[in-house]
């Protein structure tokens, strides 16, 4: 058991840090420190391309597909340095963290060669078509249909909560390919181009006032028959493989964002005197501890994954970070007081901490609600009985 890094790894850190610092203080100074996922999308696309050009986009991927073959430790280091340098949240995070690894795991050689390099080069942005109006926590209840016509699949239906669809080139969709099938059977996993007449993206305004999520309508949308991962009927297996993907490394980058948020809470507390309150001090200390335990939980997850093992901490991680961040949002408002409830100007757009308070209510819902997470932990990790299914339509 060892936490420190070797001299070679530290040399890699210096190389990554130097490149990031030069870019984010030079040509890309205007995206440094951005927090919102929807701000300056065109410049964010440029940044994805710049990372790709220099081989820093998907460092853990094989070189053949545009990666850097980075070791686990190097991936950890890059994630840390990226955040330390003020790198903005990745516009293509769904492509990099979800679509790419799924294609790597389930794609044919042709599919890998077609789809992975454009992700690594920052040329094709991805979003995720999972949830539907009647398939939220009960994801297997999807109604979107897909059928074969000649050399194409045709898709009909509606997805919801498709984050960043307005900037995306591709969407991966689970759809019912076997008529009359129910639940997890008879589903297909399709890769569908967004820019076509059969796809309509409509923004959903959130409680923050922003519109990061969308409704996505498929009305005779088409994709080439080659763009299915696995066989018709494998959709659930592929989708679950994706949900189970090792997110350890991206997690570390996400944690650096949390670090910035906690630092902002601490700065506010020192500035307005809240830092003198013993109760606020306890809550800040709890947040500090919680953040460190996310880091070390992620390192356990990564080390175990490298040894081919699913870490117990992988199953508990989602509820852990989501709850931590929701608590931080509440702490932020308790520190700020009424000053946090108002904003200058006419736009309903709050700065980082009040926005965190609002946005973090989504964290405990998307990607599996806290309640679904508890079911998963209880059933998969602790071996408790599965939830019975009801029979209401």
């Amino acid at each position: 058991m060892k936490l420190g890094f070797s001299p070679e790894e530290e040399a890699f850190r210096a190389e990554a840090a130097a490149w990031l610092s030069a870019e984010l203080n030079g040509a890309f100074a205007d995206v440094r420190g951005l927090a919102s996922l929807t701000e300056k999308p065109e410049r964010r696309r440029d940044w994805e391309r710049r990372l790709g050009e220099a081989g820093w986009s998907c460092v853990g991927w094989p070189r053949a597909y545009g990666g850097r073959d980075a070791t686990l430790a190097q991936q950890v280091i890059f994630a840390e340095e990226y955040a330390r340098a003020g790198g903005p949240p990745r516009l293509n995070h769904i492509g990099i963290e979800l679509a790419g690894p799924t294609i790597l795991a389930f794609g044919t050689d042709e599919q890998k060669a077609r789809f992975l390099p454009p992700i690594a080069r920052g040329e094709e942005i991805w979003c995720q078509g999972y949830s539907e109006p009647d398939a939220g926590s009960d994801l297997a209840n999807v109604r979107t249909r897909a059928w074969r016509e000649g050399n194409e699949w045709v898709v009909e239906g509606q997805k919801v909560w498709t984050s960043l669809a307005q900037f995306s080139d591709w969407i991966f969709v689970i759809a019912r390919s076997e008529e009359g099938s129910k639940g997890p059977k008879g589903l297909a996993f399709l890769l569908v181009p967004v820019d076509q007449p059969g796809v309509t993206v409509r923004p959903i305004h959130q409680i923050t006032g922003e519109a990061e999520f969308n409704e996505t309508f498929f009305d005779g949308a088409r994709t080439d028959a080659a763009n299915m991962l696995g066989e018709p009927g494998d959709g659930w297996k592929v989708a679950m493989g994706l949900l189970g993907f090792e997110r350890g490394v991206s997690t570390l980058a996400q944690q650096m964002g949390f670090r910035n948020e906690l630092d902002a809470v601490i700065a506010a507390a020192r500035a307005n005197g809240a830092a003198k309150s013993p109760l606020i001090r306890q809550r800040i200390a709890k947040a500090e501890i919680g953040l460190r335990l996310m880091r070390y939980g992620a390192l356990r997850m990564l080390t175990d994954a490298e040894g081919g093992k699913l870490s117990p901490s992988a199953l508990t991680y989602k509820i852990q970070w989501a709850t931590w961040r929701r608590d931080l949002g509440e702490l932020a408002m308790d520190v700020l007081g009424q000053a946090g409830e108002t904003v200058s100007g006419h736009d309903y757009a709050f700065p980082m901490l009040p926005n965190l308070f609002l946005y973090s209510r989504a964290d405990t819902i998307y990607g599996g609600t806290n309640e679904i997470q508890r079911n998963i932990i209880a059933e998969r990790a602790l071996g408790l009985p599965r939830e019975p299914r009801g029979d209401l339509k």
Binding site: L3, G4, A285, E288, L382
Partner: protein, 354 residues
């Protein structure tokens, strides 16, 4: 970076797990609770046969020559069974103090005997008015773990650290009926007791506090994991309303929440152990975090264990109360979770000028 046990560490964990599962049975622990709070046969096996009291003592001083990770592994496995051993008193507190702050002569004289289990030592934080002048100690220490059984005390006084033998003239030792009978306290009163100073008291105190807090955190981790495991087993066996109670979300979600904190406590304990071993500048923070988080986790899980077992969990016969009481004792020893968090608040820079 490799945040998982090495093969050797995994082997130590397996050995310790099997050892405590076989020997630290509830019958033997309860027999010890009715006596000194130490299962003497278990202590003999742990020390004389396995040599494990010297886990973190260098080999040339009679120990095994391992570090904090291995010490935490042993404390975790002992904690899983609420083993009635002076593990904290001797291995977690007194030995590190002597190792870090004793003279060469003191170390040569005491460490081999402590490692072999011939001597049981404990650690006594004296009251603020206690003082030693010309080697004569006056004052008291109120809550000394396993103090009625220890042969030797490392006494922390405001101006030094001293070794005191249990049969020294002027000492009186009063066993205290203690809520946790597996780690009972004693009160010591010193009336001009001959006290031998440790040469580097600051180093001794720091080592005792850091290693002791880590050992408690690891004990808490093992205990909390046992509370979870045993309650999961019960929830699968216990049938009410024609179903295993573990099939109700009201129950299974609480068990899931226990696992969420237990896994974090595990990260905390081994982070702190690594940080001390590697001399990381995060070590002080990590130890405060581990002590606070693991102790809170243990209290939560032991309380849930009683609640989810229902009436049987409230009986003396069931082991739930052993965990519940150890959890309480762990939380108070060497600073409460709130106290450790306040230290972290300071380390975080909350008092720096805005």
């Amino acid at each position: 970076m490799h945040f998982a046990f090495t093969d050797e560490q995994a082997m130590i964990a397996e050995t310790a797990k099997a050892f405590f599962a076989e020997q630290a049975t509830t019958e033997r622990t309860r027999a010890a609770m009715a006596a000194s709070g130490i299962d003497e046969a278990l202590w003999q096996a742990f020390t004389a046969e396995l040599g494990l009291a010297g886990v973190a003592i260098p080999e040339d001083q009679g120990g095994v020559g391992l570090g904090m990770i291995e010490l935490a592994i042993l404390a975790e496995e002992a904690g899983r069974h609420v083993a009635a051993l002076p593990l904290l008193a001797s291995v977690g507190l007194a030995i590190p103090a002597i190792l870090a702050g004793g003279s060469a002569e003191q170390k040569a004289r005491l460490l081999p005997r402590l490692a072999a289990g011939e001597l049981v030592a404990s650690f006594a934080e004296a009251t603020p008015d206690a003082a030693a002048s010309d080697g004569a100690l006056m004052g008291a220490a109120l809550y000394v773990p396993h103090g009625a059984r220890a042969d030797l005390f490392v006494v922390a006084v405001s101006d030094g650290m001293f070794l005191v033998e249990r049969d020294a003239p002027g000492i009186s030792i009063a066993a205290l009926t203690s809520m946790d009978q597996t780690r009972p306290y004693a009160r010591l009163d010193f009336d001009a007791v001959a006290a031998e100073g440790l040469t580097d008291p600051a180093a001794a105190l720091a080592a005792a506090h850091a290693t002791g807090a880590l050992a408690i955190a690891a004990d808490a981790l093992g205990g909390a994991q046992a509370c979870l495991d045993r309650t999961v087993d019960y929830a699968q066996e216990r049938i009410q309303f024609g179903r295993a109670i573990g099939s109700f979300q009201a129950v299974k979600h609480r068990l899931a929440d226990m696992m969420v904190v237990v896994e974090q406590a595990r990260s905390a304990v081994y982070w702190a152990a690594c940080a001390i071993d590697e001399g990381s500048d995060e070590a002080a923070f990590a130890v405060h975090a581990a002590k606070a988080f693991a102790c809170d986790t243990y209290m939560h899980c032991a309380g849930e264990m009683i609640q989810l077992h229902g009436g049987i969990g409230f009986t003396w016969e069931h082991d739930a109360h052993l965990y519940f009481k150890r959890a309480r004792s762990n939380a108070n020893l060497l600073g409460t979770p709130d106290w450790h968090r306040e230290r972290i608040a300071t380390l975080t820079g909350l008092d720096d000028a805005a």
